[in-house]
Amino acid sequence: MLFNSLDFALFFLVVFAAYAALPARGQNRLLLVASYFFYGCWDWRFLSLIALSTAVDFTVARGIDRSENPRRRKGLLFLSMAVNLGVLGFFKYFDFFVGSAEALARTLGFDPPGLRLGLVLPVGISFYTFQSMSYTIDVYRRQLKPTRDFLDYALFVSLFTQLVAGPIERAAHLLGQITRPRTITWNGIQTGTWLFFWGLFKKVVIGDNVAGWADQVFSGSVAWTSGSVLLGVYAFALQIYCDFSAYSDMARGLGRFLGFDIMINFRNPYFARDPSDFWRRWHISLSSWLRDYLYIPLGGNRRGPRRTYLNLLATMVLGGLWHGAAWTFVFWGLFHGLLLAIHRFVRGETAQVDPPTVFGSAWRRLATFHAVCFGWLLFRAESLRDVAGMLAALVRNPGWSAACSAWTFQIVLLSLPLWFVQVLQERTGDSLAPLRLSLVPRTLLYAATAGGLILFANTGSRAFIYFQF
């Protein structure tokens, strides 16, 4: 059940009506049932995986909390990690690693037996696994007291608003909101409506439409020239941002309706001034997760520059692998790790103090954006051979077709409201700045958003990109 479907609209209306009528305790039970139903609509068999992860982490966290024996605590944490990463690794990476090993064996002249299982990846497994694991780790680190209510914990893991594509919430932030009574407010409905429809606009008007060109270029169905490749990469940069941030906005909007404050996952990432800034703005819940549970435990920047660079590379490679089981994701992660390491090397250990000039700032933003776009080329390409082919076309095959002009027109026109809102958010530092505009610009923005949804929404029900992760 996609957020951008009539089925979901009906589902949410029913859930919201019942939710408004129930007392706090009943609200949580209702949301739990609704969340399992929501997830079961994709494939009910995989509900068992969520239930397993929930049961293991709930029990383990309570065991860790009760025990004062460091070995026992560590053993329990290891059990939680083993179950969560075991399930994730099996469903997501088994075929990848076996396939890679088979390919290597064939290269070396062996004839390995086919061991790949052709597993179906459970939707959102990477998100809820990481969310559930963070809870156990926080309890282990004594940063969090475990909950005694299993059903509340089950709701924390499975809350349908952000179950399948994040943000990856932390228990300290969301679980507290689950255990406390919540109220439905006009302010929540107002901001929730804006966030939901703005997310919908980004997804179905911008993301799904510009995907048309990105798909054509990356599948090779249009000739690769410098113009077509460049536009294809720009289109994909816009598509993935609009697609993924749309889901986060919609999740936040739905949360507001229900009285939750879901964390912000994106802060205008294409306005970033350097790679480090980019990762403070892009998929914030994952980058902060990787920082807190991987980079810092590896030593962070406390063990000298060389180790810091290695930690950055390892963290980003694993971050890339989190996105999917393919070498392109590994190289994408490695590329971003290198970017971060180079940036750190160039910048030195201390952040720049002088505020940049207008042109300096624009130049840095432009350079960062293009470096990120190069990363998207690695991320989206079907294979490394395609990456090489597209890069070669970019340099050696100049050309600009009529189709490029038409798509440029479409991309620019559809994304105009996006840039307006982003500039406003960036200048004010307020993600809800559009709601604080005065009457005339707000009316124009609402009309443009609604008009765009009516006229140009792609109703092909294209799933969110990050569902596959």
Partner: protein
Amino acid sequence: MNPLPHPPNPKTPDAAERRWLRRYGWLLPLAGIPLGLWIGRKTWPAVLLVPTLATDGFDAKGLAIGLAIAALPLAWLAGLWFERRWPRTRRWSIAPVLAALALLLADVALRTNLGQSLFWQAVLARSGQQHQAREISLFRLEAADQAATPRPGIVLAGSSQLVYGIDGAQLAALTGQPVHRRAAAGMFPTELVASQGWFDFHPDNRVVLMLSGFDLGARHDLFPEAIRPLATLSGLRNLLGAARARFLLRRWRALVDLGSAAACEFWRSRDYARFLLEHPFRAAETAAAANETATAEQKDAYARLGANGEMVALCEEALARFFADLAGRCREIVVLEGQVNPAYPGGELADLSREARDLLQRLHRQGTVRFVPREEQVLDLPEDLWRDMTHVGPEGRRRLTEAFARALAKPAPAISPAP
């Protein structure tokens, strides 16, 4: 004196707006009128894809656009003033209401003759090899013209069999009456009934259709994307009224879609708005793959003819309602029994043809329509006059048009009751 004092927090959107207005607000009145006049001059060349088209240097519409742009800072300031004086708790709902009103006005503007002309001429100019875009734009342009100045005549309604089978100019010459085309490819009974609102623009119209068993069984389900561009409220009422509750419940998404299309011109035209967006500067080209897909879909349709009995029953009931409703809104409805290539493989077609004939004969007896069965059409269309299984070639087109003219010239034939 500056009317916009500095607000205390320069980072709020309110402050950003005031700063913007103070710095750049004067540009809008200065550039607005020349910009409006330029838009007015360039609109038709852009719509018709003829950059060299000579247009007037000055026009009232361009001036109106220019004045609207010029007045924007004043409206903006009024909004800021209003925001300060209206209680915060109430004012949040004003902008959504105004936005809805603006969209409503835009929808009404698109329904006007000018709005329709601009939109559908733009689609027509870009239709190129996209036959459906060309047919729908011609349909809608004629409909807009008729809505502005209704003139009675022969209204040809039906599917591609009619589009490619009848020469409108030849029929007009033979009958001496104006011919209005309301036909498009894929306009089978579900689409035909849903588009009813486009046929009843004048009480003296003679609505002429060609129906056969093929039409009755051509759709194996409801296809909102085929119905949407021509959906009307009156037509949808007859189509959905004919369906059973369970059928409708299973297709509730389609109902939401079609209901929106019938009520809102923006939604009804959205496929072609997207078409314009995809072809802003030049006419569409059809890839060879698209033609192959179309041929494969046609073959699939032949194979699935009449596969869904529920749809056949829905079409029959919907047609009965449609004719009964339309009969009171026009002078006469003439239905010629259609035919397909004699080489068409039998299968379901014989049963469907019988059902279609039974239905039309019943309606004829009731006085709702004038049915002209095949044997009365004096029409010989051997295999070599067909370009495929359902569409005639040029000679077939000439003969079919003549048969239509003869049928329209004749008084209503008496049909004996079916045994």
